[in-house]
């Protein structure tokens, strides 16, 4: 009798535990196919949290005000990866650099279906597409640039730069590579200029610590923003250079503990924008840095900035939840706000 009771008790416990285990999907799935062809809007790069594998790409439709979340997962039924760093739209393809996954995902721009995954990189950061069917890729943990055949996805060669490279920008036949990282105690206050035809280093130019972003204006001048260092070691500065790498102007920031980032330029290439807690705007012909912000942060943590036909700003909030995206007019009026994914950090217009 007692044996039976224990047997019933055991069976009851077993059923209770097993019934508690439902086969729920790991993440919410949206299996409907998206089509972004001809839609007026922009993609949002949600960086995600380091080592948590929750990077994603969202799309915002300017006409319908619709936000389509996690378009990569929807198209491919797998997560994008760990820390989406940058995104480039080239023709009918989109290249997504997934930094901490050490890979580049190439997808169809119309629906984000995967075409190819390029792997074997240590910590890829930014891509720059060149005319001759090749792309340059910077890598935080490499003292060189990868040169990739955009047709096959194969790495053709590596250009030794002697320092880790970050943001890349093309000026004439030169590639400007910003040496932002102090990896292995290397200097992080320089710009490496590479001949885009010969794929060789032309020269290195000393700037201010941590050159983090760059833009090219309508005159072909290159603007480079330096934040001054992680520990505020130097005064942050904005440089204006010619394509040969000669410094034409230097603007120094005033005030303690300023940390300007995310330099970008408007579509007519005559007005610069950058973040320094607030958003600042500066005409390329001006002789001083702006003193007053163009858009005040008002306790928002502005993190990503894009100055297209609209000013796009992202706010990762506390980095523990999905962030917000703010769409401003070119006059600085807030037009709309919506929720994006984890740590929204960058934008790409669907042009």
């Amino acid at each position: 009798m007692l044996y039976k009771k224990f047997f019933y008790f055991f069976c009851f416990s077993l059923v209770m535990f097993i019934s508690a285990c439902s086969n729920e999907p790991e993440n919410p799935e949206n299996t409907s196919e998206n089509n972004f062809s001809g839609r007026r809007g922009f993609f949002i790069i949600n960086e995600g949290l380091f080592q948590q594998g929750n990077a994603s790409i969202d799309f915002y439709d300017l006409d319908t005000k619709e936000v389509i979340h996690d378009v990569f997962f929807t198209a491919n039924q797998r997560p994008l990866g760990d820390v989406a760093q940058s995104l480039n739209k080239v023709g009918n393809k989109i290249w997504i650099v997934v930094n901490n996954s050490g890979k580049i995902e190439i997808v169809k721009s119309k629906n984000f279906e995967s075409i190819m995954t390029l792997t074997g990189f240590a910590s890829p950061r930014y891509l720059l597409f060149h005319k001759n069917g090749k792309a340059y890729l910077s890598d935080l943990y490499k003292e060189s640039l990868y040169v990739i055949d955009t047709l096959t996805g194969q790495t053709i060669k590596e250009i030794s730069t002697g320092k880790s490279c970050e943001y890349l920008i093309e000026a004439g036949s030169h590639i400007f590579a910003l040496n932002w990282s102090s990896l292995n105690d290397s200097l992080n206050n320089t710009l490496t200029i590479i001949d885009g035809l010969a794929d060789s280093v032309v020269k290195s130019v000393i700037l201010t610590k941590e050159p983090n972003s760059a833009a090219i204006d309508k005159n072909g001048h290159i603007w480079i923003l330096c934040s001054g260092g992680f520990f505020f070691e130097e005064t942050p500065a904005l440089y204006c250079m010619n394509p040969q790498g000669e410094i034409l102007k230097k603007f120094e920031f005033s005030g303690n503990q300023t940390y300007p980032t995310r330099l970008c330029i408007n579509p007519s290439h005559d007005t610069l924008f950058y973040l320094n807690k607030d958003v600042y705007r500066m005409g390329i012909m001006e002789n001083d840095l702006p003193q007053l912000p163009f858009i005040q942060s008002n306790n928002k943590n502005f993190y990503g900035l894009n100055a297209g036909n609209f000013i796009l700003l992202s706010d990762p909030l506390d980095y523990q939840q999905n962030g917000n995206v703010y769409v401003y007019s070119r006059k600085g009026q807030l037009l709309s706000t919506f929720q994006a994914g984890m740590v929204p950090s960058g934008f790409q217009w669907n042009e």
């Binding site: 535990f17 508690a20 594998g53 997560p79 995954t117 240590a122």
Partner: protein, 643 residues
């Protein structure tokens, strides 16, 4: 399967044991596997003072799973969630919805949380079957010290005066390159006893898992996840005379591990490595005066060294911590069933790391007073107060007040209700880390309200049934969270940001029975927890990440003559991995089984053990993208000599 025989006290000295020794004896009644401890002798002079909702980890669990870490054992039997980065790798716990720094760990009464992070890596805490492990969730942790907003865990080494000398050697091997070699000796001479133990463990942890991150999911092998660890410990117990006792505990260990990357990241085997060295020594003296006053003096020193290397990122970081402790306690018992206890603790922390601007020294003082009064056999009233001062930071006065009611004269059934306020002073990294450390942080403050019941009934001297149920509610304010700096978003700094509330229930049922040469023990536990941020927050109704709402355990041990059979299940519910509940990890049900056979050759007892873990080979994760092993096996040989 050997029987737990370690919780004993000398007949002379039992009355002088300090609180960490007396209270658990009360709770030993909760578990059938400890009912066998007939040799326990405790003076009846002192009233039964309970720890309200304390859980004592069953001795049988520690014996059967001795090769596992404290975290893995707790996960099997207690209402905790183990945030586990994989076998041999970092693991922390979530207790009643709190974070890892809000659970305090005490080794023989000495706090051993890492002073830098405030957390404890449970993978570095070995378990010996002789240990006594108590889980004190919620407000009862205030008894041992502040900071345990979720609770605390006690690891105590105790003498076993009624045991004969014994020597044990153990060899284990298993899947994924697992090897373990250990030895123990317990030697007694008159009123002196010493216990020695040592162990070496290593594993490659190269198990297979399915990588769903790939365009075409496929099986991959975990690489760069190996670890090896050795440890040595020795305990000395001396009953100097009928009124004085001395204990000395020594422990040292060294652990090396490769840190595997999440599968969502680029796989760089052996790129990240960690080395941990720990050493601790504790000496205590206890004195019982003839007028019912007990005095205790405890002194300890702990040393922690950590080295972390990331070859690719060119990081080589070291952290060295020395801590000294002096604890003085005194208690007095009056014949009218009143018991007064007090304790003063001094702690000095000395940290050296390049991650702080200077070498840091911090002194912490703590005062604890407790009054306990029994109203006949019907009720027990309990009140205590703690105050802690750490340099310029101090906790407010932290009261605890509670009552237990015994409606039955036999005290088989008890109801309790208690309230406590607790506080955690910031860890050193929170204050001094460069960049970001915030010296202006305030201590976290929590309020707990808890009630529950305990019931135990023995039937026919063969069957024992136990039930424990708790309900709790707590609110924590000024929760410390690291947030991006408002000027420089890439630098994070800790701030007193969140207000969190947690509530839930815990139920524990155990049944044990014995017929001639057969015994059976079964245990079922379930915990339900809701933890979210302040309801003023628009998202405040959402469950905090990595805090499962449902946790359940079931274990079953059958011993017949020389054979033992073990079966256990652990259910862990859905865990959200972010704050807006948009991503989560699937629930899982782990099932383990094992078989022992014991035989003797003269005075040598040999035990053969076979264990099958994750019996149904399920894919599971405790941390997103950190795969855990599928089915794996352990085979062990234990040689026990009782001369």
């Amino acid at each position: 399967m050997s029987t737990g025989l370690c919780q004993n006290s000398s007949p002379n000295f039992s009355a002088y044991s300090d609180s960490s020794h007396i209270y658990p004896l009360i709770h030993s009644n909760l578990y059938p596997d400890t009912i066998k401890l007939k040799s326990i002798t405790v003076s009846a002079k002192y009233p039964d003072v309970s720890y309200f909702s304390a859980y004592r980890i069953p001795k049988i669990e520690m014996e059967v799973h001795e090769e596992r870490t404290l975290g893995e054992i707790l996960q099997r039997v207690a209402p905790i969630y183990l945030k586990d980065y994989g076998p041999g790798n970092t693991s922390t716990i979530t207790l009643r919805g709190t974070n890892a720094a809000q659970t305090q760990i005490y080794w023989n009464g000495i706090p051993i949380n890492a002073a830098g992070t405030g957390q404890t890596d449970f993978s570095t805490i070995p378990v010996m079957s002789e240990d006594e492990i108590l889980l004190l969730p919620g407000l009862v942790s205030l008894e041992k010290g502040s900071g345990g907003l979720g609770g605390s865990i006690e690891i105590n080494n105790n003498p076993s005066w009624n045991d004969n000398n014994r020597y044990e050697a153990k060899i284990e091997t298993g899947s994924f390159g697992y090897q373990s070699y250990g030895g123990k000796a317990a030697i007694k001479h008159k009123n002196l006893q010493t216990k020695f133990y040592t162990r070496y463990q290593s594993a490659d942890n190269d198990f297979e898992y399915i990588n769903n991150m790939l365009a075409e999911p496929k099986k991959e092998k975990r690489l760069g996840a190996s670890n090896h660890q050795w440890l040595v410990g020795e305990d000395f117990y001396l009953n100097a005379d009928s009124l004085n006792a001395i204990e000395i505990h020594l422990f040292t260990q060294s652990l090396n591990r490769d840190i595997p990357s999440p599968i969502s990241t680029v796989q760089l085997p052996e790129n990240e490595q960690m080395k941990l060295d720990d050493a601790r020594i504790m000496a205590s003296w206890r004195h019982q005066s003839k007028n019912q006053i007990r005095l205790g003096l405890k002194s300890a020193w702990t040393y922690n060294f950590m080295n972390y290397q990331n070859k690719l990122a060119a990081i080589n970081s070291t952290y060295t911590m020395h801590q000294g402790f002096l604890i003085i306690n005194a208690s007095k018992y009056w014949e009218n069933n009143t018991h007064l206890e007090s304790e003063i603790r001094f702690q000095s922390q000395m940290a050296r790391t390049a991650n702080y601007a200077d070498n840091i020294t911090r002194n912490i003082s703590s005062l604890w007073i407790k009054l306990n009064h029994h109203l006949g056999s019907f009720a027990n009233l309990y009140a205590g107060m703690r105050k802690e001062i750490a340099e310029s930071t101090s906790t407010p006065l932290l009261p605890v007040i509670g009552t237990e009611l015994f409606p039955m004269a036999t005290k088989n059934l008890a109801f309790y209700l208690a309230y406590a306020k607790n506080s955690r002073i910031p860890a050193l990294n929170d204050l001094y880390w460069v960049p970001g450390g915030n010296p202006n942080l305030k201590p976290e403050i929590s309020h707990h309200l808890e009630s529950g019941l305990r019931f135990r009934q023995n039937l026919l001297n063969r069957i024992s049934i136990g039930l424990q149920a708790n309900a709790y509610s707590s609110r924590i304010k000024d929760w410390i969270a690291w947030m991006p700096d408002s000027v420089m978003i890439s630098i994070w700094e800790p701030i007193n940001l969140k207000h969190v509330k947690a509530s839930g229930i815990e139920i524990l049922i155990d049944i044990g029975c014995t017929w001639s040469k057969t015994s059976l023990n079964s245990r079922l536990s379930y915990a339900f927890n809701i933890t979210n941020e302040n309801e003023d927050d628009p998202q405040g109704r959402l469950q905090l990440p990595y805090t499962p709402q449902h946790i359940g355990n079931f274990s079953f041990y059958l011993v017949h003559r020389s054979f033992s059979f073990m079966y256990s299940m652990n259910y862990t519910g859905k865990r959200f991995t972010n704050y807006d509940e948009s991503h989560f990890l699937k629930p899982y049900l782990l099932q383990d089984t094992g078989l022992d056979y014991i035989f003797s050759i003269k005075k040598l007892e040999i035990k053969l053990t076979l264990k099958i873990n994750n019996l149904f080979n399920i894919q599971w994760e405790n941390i997103a993208y950190q795969p855990m092993p599928g089915r794996y096996f352990h085979l062990g040989f234990t040689f026990l000599l009782n001369p």
